[in-house]
């Protein structure tokens, strides 16, 4: 017993054993993430500097920044620029994505706030409302795109029927096919589908606000609207900010809804859609890779911003 104990005493300590275990516990996950995230990302970036095509992935040659920007001087002395950075289709997609992201997140935040405030009130049928708003969230994006494209159908769609009956429009609108309304259609569906998620996150923030604050304000006779702007809003601001940034990152990479609801519409084509189109459909694999690398760079900036803003409550050390 004595020798054995002494022998073990010089072995690894509890902390060392736990850290060693932690290493082995993390290793499989890290290896998996390396293969599905880090490695493909690096390969994408690498491809963006080559002339790879779908049929010629392995013999691709390094062509530097040509996919991004290429200058060539013609014999006439005129300088011609080529590449993504001077491609109007790309800048159109950037503009579409940014416009979509800001507008959708703006309305989702407003509506999410309203729904969260309603759900934070005590009333009969509250659980029914929660169940109801979970439905849009649970429906697959593709299914909601199809459902809405049926509702938005120019000839048989129920939305045109409602609006005609109400006298708000004078003739049937081809929502998804008309360039002027295509983006509106995408926004409507996205706001419908994602407001519940926003509402739930904001509701979680609202429920952290101690009830006695409202009681105190009521006893003091402060008007509810004033209470909301002076007390509630500042208290839930961190939760709202986190939700907004999450949604923003999600909106910037939107693909499926646009792809299914408004196929091939230049008015809605986003960065993700145009990248994939070039990469797979047009066999400009490297060119598409360059565009997706640019999208990654934009989102990386947002992620850094998010981590910087969210460090306090998300770091894991503070809880």
């Amino acid at each position: 017993m004595t020798d054995q104990t002494l022998g073990r005493a010089s072995g690894p300590s509890l902390k060392q054993r736990r850290q060693r275990a932690a290493f082995w516990f993390l290793a499989p996950m890290l290896i998996a993430l390396f293969f599905v995230a880090a490695w493909p990302l690096l390969r994408t970036i690498w491809f963006s500097f080559t002339d790879a095509t779908l049929s010629n992935l392995y013999d691709a040659e390094w062509i530097g920044f040509d996919n991004y920007l290429q200058t060539r001087e013609l014999s006439s002395g005129r300088v011609v620029y080529r590449g993504t950075l001077v491609d109007p289709a790309w800048w159109n997609a950037v503009w579409n994505t940014v416009r979509f992201s800001f507008v959708s997140v703006f309305f989702e935040t407003i509506f999410g706030l309203i729904v969260a405030l309603v759900m934070n009130a005590e009333f009969k049928g509250r659980s029914l409302v929660r169940a109801a708003i979970l439905i849009p969230w649970a429906i697959p994006t593709i299914v909601s795109a199809k459902m809405w494209s049926w509702m938005l159908n120019d000839q048989f769609g129920i939305l045109n029927d409602i609006l005609l009956n109400l006298g708000l429009i004078s003739h049937r609108i081809a929502w998804t096919a008309t360039p002027e309304t295509a983006m509106t259609a995408v926004l409507i569906v996205d706001i419908w589908k994602t407001t519940p998620f926003m509402a739930l996150l904001i509701l979680a923030g609202l429920q952290m606000v101690p009830r006695d604050i409202y009681e105190a304000a009521r006893i003091d006779g402060i008007h509810p609207v004033k209470v909301f702007f002076r007390v509630t809003l500042p208290l839930i601001k961190p939760a709202v900010m986190v939700a907004v940034i999450f949604r923003m990152l999600d909106a910037l990479r939107i693909f499926d809804l646009v792809y299914v609801l408004t196929p091939n519409s230049a008015a809605t084509k986003t960065m993700s859609v145009i990248s994939r189109e070039n990469m797979i459909d047009f066999d400009k694999f490297a060119y598409g890779a360059a565009q997706s690398t640019l999208l990654f760079a934009i989102i990386a900036v947002f992620v850094s911003l998010y981590i910087w803003l969210g460090r306090v409550d998300l770091g894991g050390e503070r809880r």
């Binding site: 932690a22 996950m29 599905v36 459902m147 419908w192």
Partner: protein, 276 residues
């Protein structure tokens, strides 16, 4: 101050608007799915008939049935794989202090917010290299990029809330970290595992970009791809009836699950603070 009755009526009107907006599109899809022939092309606010012909059409389509099987298999495998790796990783991240833990957590969170298009080219190459293009394994591999960070993150927040003293009692009892995870924490984490697994399952079930890119034959499609690309007899005619029937078929199980687990799902969503 306005009349309290008016206030109450106004409030319930708002509630009604919210509920109608949330539920109506799905309700209308159900109504449409039971209409056929000319009834389909009249706007009906209430169900006029219960015609199962659209469902028969969809379920008679072998490729659609096959796509449901594919989706169940892919989502199931993805979730099992992610949970298996995430449980031990979450223990290390929530319970053991080591240098760089905060950075690692941030990296995992960042990966979960990756634009999936950014890895598409690299994954495409990897899928081709492994020879799994147009097989379910391509999806199982690629879905790991969002299910694994998500499950790790949510389980880490859940595990952080388990009492420290229980773990210390186990250490005094001579439990190794592996025993603590499998015999002490895992039985306590069942509710969290169910919630996290369900959320990850929904994510995998709904995924579109990878499934669209990594499949080429109709029999290998997943449900979202099958619905998106469901075509009618002719090129011009979009088969709205069967599409709505298919939509209802793949959505009802999800909605039922979500409603059963709604409290837990809300907790899981807000714990992770992660996208739906």
């Amino acid at each position: 101050m306005s009349h309290p009755l008016i206030k109450t009526i106004g409030f319930y009107a708002l509630v009604a608007v919210i509920v109608v907006f949330a539920v109506f599109p799905f309700y209308y899809a159900i109504v449409t799915s039971f209409s056929s022939g000319t009834a389909l092309f009249q706007v009906n606010y209430w169900p006029k008939s219960f015609n199962w012909v659209n469902y028969e059409t969809v379920m008679g389509n072998r490729n659609f049935v096959r796509s449901i099987v594919n989706s169940v298999f892919i989502a199931g495998c993805t979730v099992a794989f992610a949970l298996f790796l995430a449980v031990t990783a979450a223990y290390a991240l929530s319970r053991v202090s080591f240098r760089g833990r905060g950075l690692l957590l941030m990296t995992i969170l960042a990966v979960s917010m990756f634009p999936q298009i950014a890895v598409l080219a690299g994954l495409f190459e990897l899928v081709r290299f492994l020879g799994i293009f147009n097989t379910p394994w391509a999806m199982i591999l690629s879905y790991t990029i969002f299910t694994l960070p998500f499950t790790v993150w949510v389980l880490t927040t859940f595990m952080r809330d388990l009492p420290v003293e229980i773990e210390e009692a186990a250490i005094v009892d001579g439990a190794t970290p592996w025993v603590i995870v499998t015999k002490v924490f895992l039985p306590l984490l069942w509710p969290a595992l169910v919630t996290t697994g369900l959320l990850a399952f929904i994510g995998a079930w709904n995924e579109f970009l990878f499934a669209l890119t990594f499949t080429s034959s109709e029999s290998m499609r997943t449900v979202p791809v099958a619905i998106a690309l469901l075509s009618g007899a002719s090129q011009q005619e979009i088969p709205w009836g069967p599409i709505m029937a298919a939509s209802v078929i793949v959505t009802v199980p999800l909605i039922v699950l979500v409603l059963i687990f709604q409290r837990k799902i809300v907790a899981g969503l807000t714990a992770g603070g992660v996208k739906g």
